[in-house]
């Protein structure tokens, strides 16, 4: 074996060394590779809308129906300073009219996010959290996210709400309310 070969083998071993970490036991909450928002940490600052490298942010609002109260008056849907309870622009919380309200049965309404329109500003999330159940929250959409190694939103997130999640659990849900039996 020449000196060059010896060095080459040594360097190959050096490259292979980090692979040893694959044999380590992965913890339950082990970090992964995909960016996600921890809804419990999020403070709805609105940076998700503007800081993403994509022209339209990969962060969108998600509705967890299981924890929604289906309220007649939804504080995620209506603006605080609304004039009347109707769908006129000045009464709505969502700046892009991305929340679709449908009548279910008296006095309940279903609220659905129109994902084409949602820009991830988090205004409805803030509204829902202020008065309602917190069933609306922001998530990084895995089908849109480019998964940049250094997420530009994570860099400026004031609440440090961006975490890395493993590929098999790419979304973080809010704990749904306990179902009474």
């Amino acid at each position: 074996m020449t000196r060059r070969e010896l060095i080459r083998t040594g360097l190959l071993a050096l490259i292979a060394a980090p692979f040893a970490s694959l044999f380590r036991k992965r913890e339950e909450t082990g970090t992964g590779y995909f960016w996600q928002i921890d809804p419990d940490k999020c403070v709805q600052c609105g940076k998700c809308e503007t800081e993403c490298i994509l022209a339209q942010s990969a962060v969108k609002c998600v509705h967890q129906y299981a924890s929604c109260g289906y309220c007649l008056f939804c504080s995620g849907y209506y603006q605080d300073k609304r004039i009347e309870f109707n769908t006129a622009g000045e009464n709505m919380r969502c700046p892009t009219d991305a929340i679709i309200r449908t009548y279910v049965e008296d006095p309940y309404f279903e609220y659905k996010i129109d994902e084409e329109k949602c820009i991830g500003c988090g205004k409805c999330v803030k509204g829902c959290l202020a008065f309602g159940n917190g069933s609306l929250f922001l998530q990084v959409r895995r089908d849109l996210c480019r998964n940049c190694n250094e997420c530009r939103i994570a860099k400026v997130c004031p609440a440090d709400a961006f975490v890395r999640v493993p590929a098999d659990r790419p979304y973080i849900y809010r704990k749904p309310p306990e179902v009474k039996s």
């Binding site: 080459r8 360097l11 190959l12 490259i15 980090p18 692979f19 970490s21 694959l22 380590r24 992965r26 082990g30 970090t31 992964g32 590779y33 995909f34 419990d40 940490k41 403070v43 490298i53 994509l54 022209a55 998600v62 509705h63 129906y65 299981a66 924890s67 929604c68 109260g69 289906y70 309220c71 279910v104 049965e105 309940y108 279903e110 659905k112 959290l129 008065f131 309602g132 159940n133 917190g134 959409r141 895995r142 089908d143 480019r146 940049c148 190694n149 250094e150 530009r152 860099k155 004031p158 609440a159 493993p166 590929a167 790419p170 979304y171 849900y173 809010r174 704990k175 309310p177 179902v179």
Partner: protein
């Protein structure tokens, strides 16, 4: 007030109604998950093999251009460049430092080009790297960087490697990925402030060959070191060199080495004196590097999220981060102790990195000053060669052979 009880309380506000004929819509988020990292690794392996074929077997500039074009299209535009092997050393450094899980895709992306460089030289830089490919293709007229200036500028990537590794280890972030100059091009989005950086690099790249690869890329430092021990080395011509110098003039990266003669006794004397002078300078270089690291540490740590938050708290600024911190469960004392620990760690690591940088500068200078092996033909310094194939196209012997083959 902490945040968590607030949410739990919020959930009890409006209990879910019991509907008669309405089923809850299912959340279909999971169906939207996609993981392309391992695909990327597989395609990268194919690319490296194809590049080796183009460069070592067909020995053709045109084939290497096609290789760059394919690399730019696939890794640049289809996969939008990120994540790419260039930034992966930061993930590895962070993973090794804080013991967190490093996914196999990340490990492979980091290791594959390095392993390839041990056998094939810097074939990755040639075109499988989208950053290299875009610079290769958008190069018009070469302005040759004078050799001494080239040597000085070439130490920048080494310094950046040190700084970025320290940043990754202490969780300051991945500055290389943040400041990646070609990302707006790959995303075709020029409305960001980073587009100015891409414009500067693209403009310089028109005249200076591969400005990012040669004078910025920290991963290139690793590839350069590894390719010193490469199994295959590029040869300008398989025939007997006629010393026409065309290859040296054709290489915009300064990787072609002119023939080395035996040298006169006087030259030997000045040479050995220069080396002993350099050797005497080593302690000073180490000390200067250490000082640089020591005084650079506060600047580095000021970029860390926790340190910045602590500074804002101390200065009484009501920023969003301060408000978010106050509604979180972390206490001020916890933050304070974490910040102090961080600052001490960064100070130590930064000083050590400075000393290592000093040592590497001296190693480079001594390697430059020492006598090369006597040779009467033009040869390629594999560690600086980006496998572009320009020398094949410039060599008249190669051209003649290609002509005969046809």
């Amino acid at each position: 007030m902490t945040r968590l009880p607030l949410i739990l309380a919020a959930q009890a506000r409006f209990p879910a109604p019991e509907f008669e004929s309405y089923t809850l819509p299912q959340m279909t988020l999971e169906e939207l998950a996609s993981d392309t990292v391992l695909w990327r690794v597989l395609i990268l392996a194919v690319f490296l093999a194809a590049g080796a074929l183009c460069f070592y077997k067909w020995r053709s500039r045109k084939a290497m251009l096609a290789y760059s074009l394919a690399g730019l299209a696939v890794f640049g535009f289809v996969f939008a460049s990120c994540p790419c092997p260039v930034g992966m050393f930061q993930n590895i450094a962070q993973g090794v430092a804080d013991g967190s899980y490093i996914p196999p895709g990340v490990l492979l992306l980091f290791a594959l080009p390095l392993a390839a460089s041990l056998f094939l030289g810097r074939i990755f830089c040639g075109g499988a790297c989208p950053l290299g490919a875009i610079q290769e293709l958008l190069h018009w007229k070469s302005i040759f960087v004078p050799r001494p200036l080239d040597r000085i500028l070439r130490m920048i990537p080494v310094l950046l490697l040190m700084i970025f590794t320290v940043c990754a280890i202490f969780g300051i972030g991945f500055p290389l990925c943040y400041l990646e100059p070609y990302l707006p091009v790959f995303l075709l989005d020029f409305a960001t402030p980073f587009a100015i950086l891409s414009a500067v690099f693209l403009l310089v790249g028109l005249f200076v060959s591969r400005p990012f690869c040669r004078y910025v890329c920290p991963y290139g430092v690793l590839l350069r070191f590894f390719s010193l021990f490469s199994l295959l080395n590029p040869r300008i011509t398989t025939q007997e060199c006629v010393n026409c110098r065309l290859c040296e003039q054709g290489c915009p990266n300064g990787a072609v080495l002119p023939p080395e003669n035996a040298g006169t006794a006087a030259q030997h004397r000045t040479g050995s004196r220069r080396i002993s002078l350099l050797a005497a300078c080593i302690p000073f270089a180490l000390f200067a590097g250490g000082l640089l690291g020591y005084f650079g540490a506060p600047v580095l740590s000021s970029f860390h999220r926790d340190v910045r938050l602590q500074n804002e708290l101390d200065a009484g600024i009501r920023s969003e981060a301060v408000e978010a911190f106050e509604s979180s469960e972390t206490t001020a004392a916890e933050l304070r102790s974490r910040v102090v620990k961080l600052q001490n760690g960064i100070l130590l690591a930064s000083t050590a990195a400075g000393v290592i940088f000093g040592a590497l500068v001296m190693a480079e200078l001594i390697a430059e000053a020492r006598r090369r092996k006597e040779e009467d033909v033009y040869s390629i310094d594999a560690s600086l060669c980006f496998c572009c194939g320009r020398c094949y196209a410039a060599c008249p012997l190669e051209r003649k052979e290609k002509h005969h083959e046809k």
